[in-house]
């Protein structure tokens, strides 16, 4: 095995990584490089190093093939501006909540992330309900109005500020709650993780088994955890949590 040969196969791995709808079972070459990754630790290490250098994390699964999870700073990542072109950064932050809600709806229990056969089916309405429920918990615990400063308005207010779906609407809006969820789901579908299956309840989505790898990477991302929970350096202001154990205003 020469260096050039190895590099060629690394390139093939990247080639297949960019085609998320294909599976190793359908292509001999795909199957070959995936098997090589799984069997040859040296090749796997070289591939991992290459992907890491590009700001990517690769999960190689025998059945699902290569699943790429991009780092937040990788130039090869999908950026939020591509998803929502005509919106302010404030509106874009809602997308993060929707992605988490999709993951939560597809895998309501942590153990489901380990089930290679799990194909979750969920509807747009279910994702909207998940977010509504979570936001409502905050709304009930909160006694005052949002901050005047746009930057400091909590995310649950942002979600609740989106209009609810109009029943019997002639045309779907892309900016109400189901509209935003559908937009995000379509993005995840473009990345090969979801398949659209009909229009019931605003849209029916089938999560391909490879989604669990991406979600597992998210769940294991300690930086993300720190950011979201207000533990990251530089995020000075405390997270505003619903007062579940303290009376409002009665904190010691």
């Amino acid at each position: 095995m020469t260096l050039a040969n190895d590099s060629l196969d690394l390139g093939r791995l990247l080639w297949w990584a960019a085609r998320p709808r294909e599976t190793p079972a359908r292509h001999d070459d795909y199957h070959r490089v995936v098997t090589r990754y799984r069997r040859e630790p040296d090749f796997a290490a070289a591939a991992d190093a290459m992907f890491t250098g590009a700001g990517l994390q690769a999960v190689v699964d025998e059945r699902e093939g290569v699943i790429i999870v991009a780092q937040a700073d990788s130039p090869l990542r999908l950026s939020l501006t591509e998803l929502m072109k005509r919106s302010t950064p404030h509106h874009r932050a809602v997308v993060g909540a929707v992605i988490l809600a999709v993951a939560r709806t597809a895998y309501p229990e942590p153990s489901m992330l380990d089930d290679p056969d799990r194909v979750a089916v969920f509807t747009t309405q279910a994702v909207v309900d998940t977010l509504d429920r979570a936001a409502q918990t905050y709304a009930e615990a909160s006694t005052d109005d949002g901050d005047v400063d746009e930057d400091r308005v909590e995310m649950w207010r942002r979600w609740l500020a989106l209009s609810e779906a109009r029943p019997n609407a002639r045309r779907r809006s892309a900016s109400d709650r189901p509209g935003v969820v559908n937009r995000v789901c379509r993005l995840i579908a473009d990345a090969g993780y979801l398949t659209a299956r009909g229009e019931t309840d605003g849209g029916t989505w089938l999560a391909r088994p490879r989604l669990r790898h991406a979600v597992a990477v998210l769940a294991a991302d300690s930086d993300l955890y720190a950011l979201v929970n207000g533990l990251a350096e530089g995020s000075a202001d405390e997270a505003v949590r619903p007062a579940d154990d303290d009376e409002p205003g009665g904190a010691p």
């Binding site: 939560r104 995310m155 559908n182 089938l206």
Partner: protein
């Protein structure tokens, strides 16, 4: 079941029911009637009192077994809130039952019905229920039923169980149908154990014992020649085989996912051994039953009985086939478990700590301020966006590709429908047209175009995303709309319809942005039906006083 006279002592929360009278136990009427006198003579009858706590084992089992029924009822009950007025004509409950049945019968160890096949089947059933409906209706009904059955596993049903420390709440997460990915990358639907329970009117039973009992029943019925009853029992036996198959498949799959959750040194091998022995015994018995039926068939002359016998043989053969398949699956299970274990030792397993998606990520995320969340959002989008950057080929190739004819898929290739840019998003000019339309529609007296322009400028309208509308564009849209009203199309309008007619009386607007005739916009009501295109010498575009005959001013 009918007569339970033991007193159950229960220190915890309990429901105390008066004892049913001896001999009439179980009937609701007798319980109701005895309430008054039982309580009057409570002391005497103390030893008769039954206390059934809600966390009693048998109640818990029934609660769990009845949960799927709740889902089916909900499908039927919630249909009134759906879009469309055709739902009342369909019975979603029976379609749901039929779908589960179809899916269950098609299940093997690794196969099942595909999503599209299932939708097609359900649509066929909808068409049977309402033959004069539309195909789109049937498809909507079919999709609604299948989606409702498949998405149930997001729901949990809480119930109370009895523990040594008193009653405790447990959540049951169940599913009726689920999508299963097979090794070749295809997906198909399968029915779960609780779903199959619906078909064998069993609330909670040991499958293995029930199978043995079924066979005994079958043998007795076949010996007596009661073929009709035997067919019914054989159907049940078939469901039990499917259910058993599903349970074994689940246990093996769970063990493969995480060998640590099961004791693979003792429990799992014992379970596999027991399952193997059970299946081997079933196979023997089914062969004997088949022989017995075949013997009987030789002596049957009656045509209908003969066809029933054939049906029975077919079902028995299918059961045997399933057990054969299961037998093969069980024999292979051990080596697959060993492989999974090897794999587990080779690579670090779940070495990183995973936080839970709901409480650790989603909920705190919603509590963050916008600016903090905006810092985390790109990270999330990057994680699920895959490899997003695409490189353009050079221009010559690109032009060729864009102009190429669509590729005809070869045999066996998936047919990929061309995807066009999303039409979901509203075109940018639509908010403008809507704004102008709403102002014009609200007119109840003649108004000049210049006034309309001023009104629009003052209204400070915004589009869907909350961005203010551009005033120049708004003015242009209004001028265009007004000039369309100057030459309105009248053909095909009926009496009583109202519309806006623009009248040019010679005045003009000449501002920085707009130079045009200052039309007088007059709301009118059509007085008579206009069938043919209006034959007018002046033509609809003529200026000056339009012919107002046939119109009357509104307001």
């Amino acid at each position: 079941m009918g007569r339970v006279h033991a007193q159950v002592r229960c220190p915890w929360r309990s429901v105390v029911l008066p004892a049913p009278r001896r001999g009439r136990g179980g009937s609701a009427a007798s319980v109701g009637a005895s309430v008054a006198d039982t309580w009057a003579a409570a002391n005497e009858l103390a030893e008769w009192a039954i206390a059934i706590p809600t966390d009693d084992g048998s109640i818990v089992r029934r609660r769990r077994a009845l949960a799927p029924i709740q889902v089916l009822t909900d499908i039927e009950r919630t249909k009134t809130s759906l879009d469309g007025d055709f739902w009342a004509r369909y019975d979603l409950f029976t379609i749901a039952l039929a779908v589960i049945d179809q899916v269950a019968l098609a299940m093997g160890i690794s196969a099942g019905r595909s999503w599209d096949e299932t939708i097609e089947y359900a649509a066929g059933q909808a068409a049977r229920q309402v033959p004069d409906g539309h195909a789109a209706e049937w498809a909507a009904v079919a999709e609604r039923v299948v989606v409702s059955l498949v998405t149930t596993d997001v729901e949990t049903v809480p119930y109370l169980i009895h523990t040594p420390d008193g009653p405790a709440w447990r959540a049951q997460r169940f599913r009726l149908l689920y999508v299963h990915a097979s090794s070749d990358g295809t997906e198909h639907l399968r029915a779960s154990e609780p779903a199959i329970n619906i078909f064998i009117d069993a609330l909670d039973l040991d499958i293995e014992a029930a199978q043995v009992a079924n066979e005994a029943q079958l043998r007795a019925l076949i010996e007596r020649g009661a073929i009709e009853s035997a067919v019914t029992i054989a159907r049940h036996a078939r469901y039990r085989s499917i259910q058993f198959q599903e349970r074994i498949r689940r246990i093996v799959a769970d063990t493969l996912i995480d060998p640590d959750t099961h004791d693979w040194i003792e429990t799992v091998p014992a379970l596999l051994d027991a399952a193997l022995a059970h299946v081997a015994e079933r196979l023997d018995n089914e062969s004997m039953l088949l022989d017995a039926v075949a013997e009987q068939r030789a002596g049957i002359g009656d045509q209908s009985r003969l066809s029933l016998t054939n049906q029975l043989i077919e079902i028995l053969r299918e059961c045997r086939h399933r057990h054969n398949e299961l037998h093969g699956h069980l024999i292979g299970a051990r080596s697959r478990l060993r492989d999974a274990l090897d794999d587990r030792f080779v690579r670090p397993y779940r070495s990183a700590h995973r936080c839970s998606l709901g409480p650790d990520l989603l909920e705190p995320y919603l509590g963050r301020s916008t600016v903090d969340a905006a810092a985390a959002a790109p990270r999330l989008a990057a994680a699920v966006g895959g490899l997003a950057t695409r490189f353009w080929p050079d221009l010559a190739v690109l032009v060729d590709e864009l102009c190429a004819e669509p590729r005809t898929p070869a045999e066996g290739d998936p047919v990929e429908e061309p995807e066009f840019a999303d039409a979901d998003e509203r075109a940018w000019w639509e908010p403008y047209e809507e704004a102008v339309e709403s102002v014009l529609d609200a007119l109840d007296e003649p108004v000049r175009l210049s006034h309309v322009l001023a009104r629009l400028a003052d209204a400070a309208l915004a589009d869907d995303a909350g961005e203010p509308l551009d005033l120049d564009l708004l003015a242009a849209t209004a001028v265009h709309a007004a000039h369309r009203a100057w030459a309105p199309r009248l053909a095909g309008r009926g009496a009583g319809e109202s519309l806006i007619v623009g009248v040019d009386d010679g005045q003009t607007i000449d501002s920085d942005a707009v130079r045009s005739a200052d039309l007088l916009l007059v709301p009118v009501v059509v007085a008579a039906d206009i069938d043919a295109p209006v034959q007018s010498e002046r033509g609809p575009g003529a200026s000056g006083d339009p012919d107002l005959a046939g119109w009357e001013l509104a307001g």
